[in-house]
């Protein structure tokens, strides 16, 4: 077989493999995409009006299941517990009213999809920069996700003390 034909076959093979992966993404890839969406929805700038803040809070709540549980226990702070989408939405609106802006990212994510492929556990590092604050917030968190109505939704979030 001549080189140009082999090269063409290799390119076609690579394109087919890429198309297959794009059309049939793995649960891990879908969860990463979902967590990227959470980070984007949780971030906001100083110039947002009330409607944009409300829409942002709604969009963030959409990444969680209706009966989600969130436990936040940060060193030197009071423990917070949230239950359900509505509480998340209210807490998000309150946070957006209290600070000028936040940039959220999850730079290190480990995902373990369970054998049933309907639930998964994500260990990740939360990185948040609050506008006007000199120090960045970094915190290890653990999230449980479940495949509900064709979407990977977060059903539980808890902070983890890396150093105990």
């Amino acid at each position: 077989m001549k080189w140009p034909r082999m090269l063409l076959l290799a390119v076609i093979g690579a394109l087919l493999a890429w198309a297959w992966m794009a059309l049939h993404p793995s649960p891990e890839r879908l969860i990463r995409k979902q967590l990227d969406g959470v980070a984007r929805a949780a971030s906001f700038g100083p110039s947002q009006g009330y409607l944009a803040k409300l829409s942002g809070a709604e969009s963030l709540a959409g990444f969680f299941s209706t009966n989600v549980e969130i436990n936040i226990d940060l060193p030197g702070h009071q423990e917070h517990r949230l239950a359900g989408r509505e509480e998340i939405q209210q807490a998000t609106l309150a946070a957006r009213a209290a600070v000028r802006g936040v940039t959220v990212a999850f730079p290190d994510i480990n995902i373990l999809v369970n054998a049933d492929r309907e639930s998964a556990l994500a260990d990740m590092t939360l990185q948040a920069k609050v506008a006007g604050e000199p120090d960045m917030i970094v915190q290890e968190i653990k999230a449980t996700l479940r495949h509900l109505n064709g979407q990977w939704l977060i059903v539980k979030v808890e902070t983890v003390r890396t150093l105990q």
Binding site: P75, G76, P107, D108, I109, N110, D123, M124, T125, Q127, D135, M136, V138, Q139, E140, R161, T162, L163, Q164
Partner: protein, 181 residues
């Protein structure tokens, strides 16, 4: 005529300075250098920027350092080493480098009991000599016994309040490597 010759010579000198006498060889060298740099700084010597004051005065806020991931290939971590500690547990399938890590000093080794008495670290009831500790400290903590694979980490800035300072024990697998500088 002389001017033209001089101009051509000047141009070729610049060309030699930019791409060398043999451009193919220069390109190959540049490619090898790029690959080696990517491998070294992505997998071996991780560049880090210190954020916060918990390691002051040893490392100041915004200072730059490197974490050497090969430092514990031949021996276990030692007391006094400043190490990078990953927040997300290591993945089962790879040697992926974390983007965010704590930079802390090891003060306790596996099996030891660590406590703070009047601001001084005690290891199995004996006061630890810490020449890097400069400021006053009033921390108190009951003894914490470390498991067979656990280390105790703390920052050098003990002038800040204990509640604001992240410190404690973690497993060996969380240690990314030793700070280089």
């Amino acid at each position: 005529m002389i001017e033209t010759q001089s101009g051509t010579g000047h141009g070729s000198r610049w060309r030699i300075l930019a791409v060398g006498r043999n451009p193919k060889r220069t390109l190959a060298r540049a490619a090898i250098l790029a690959v080696v740099s990517v491998v070294v700084f992505k997998f071996v010597l991780l560049p880090v920027r210190v954020e916060g004051a918990s390691m002051a005065p040893t490392y100041s806020d915004h200072s730059v350092n490197f974490v050497n991931r090969l430092s514990y290939l031949w021996h276990p971590p030692r007391r006094g080493d400043v190490v990078g500690i990953r927040l997300t547990p290591p993945s089962a399938n790879g040697w992926s480098a974390p983007h965010i890590m704590y930079l802390k000093r090891i003060i306790g080794l596996p099996g030891e009991a660590i406590s703070f008495v009047n601001g001084r670290v005690q290891v199995n009831g004996q006061t630890l000599d810490e020449p890097y500790e400069k400021g006053p400290c009033d921390w108190r903590m009951a003894p914490v016994t470390l498991g067979p694979n656990e280390y105790f980490f703390v920052g050098d800035n003990r002038t800040m309040s204990k509640e604001e300072h992240v410190f404690g024990k973690a497993e060996r697998a969380r240690i990314v490597g030793k700070a280089l500088l």
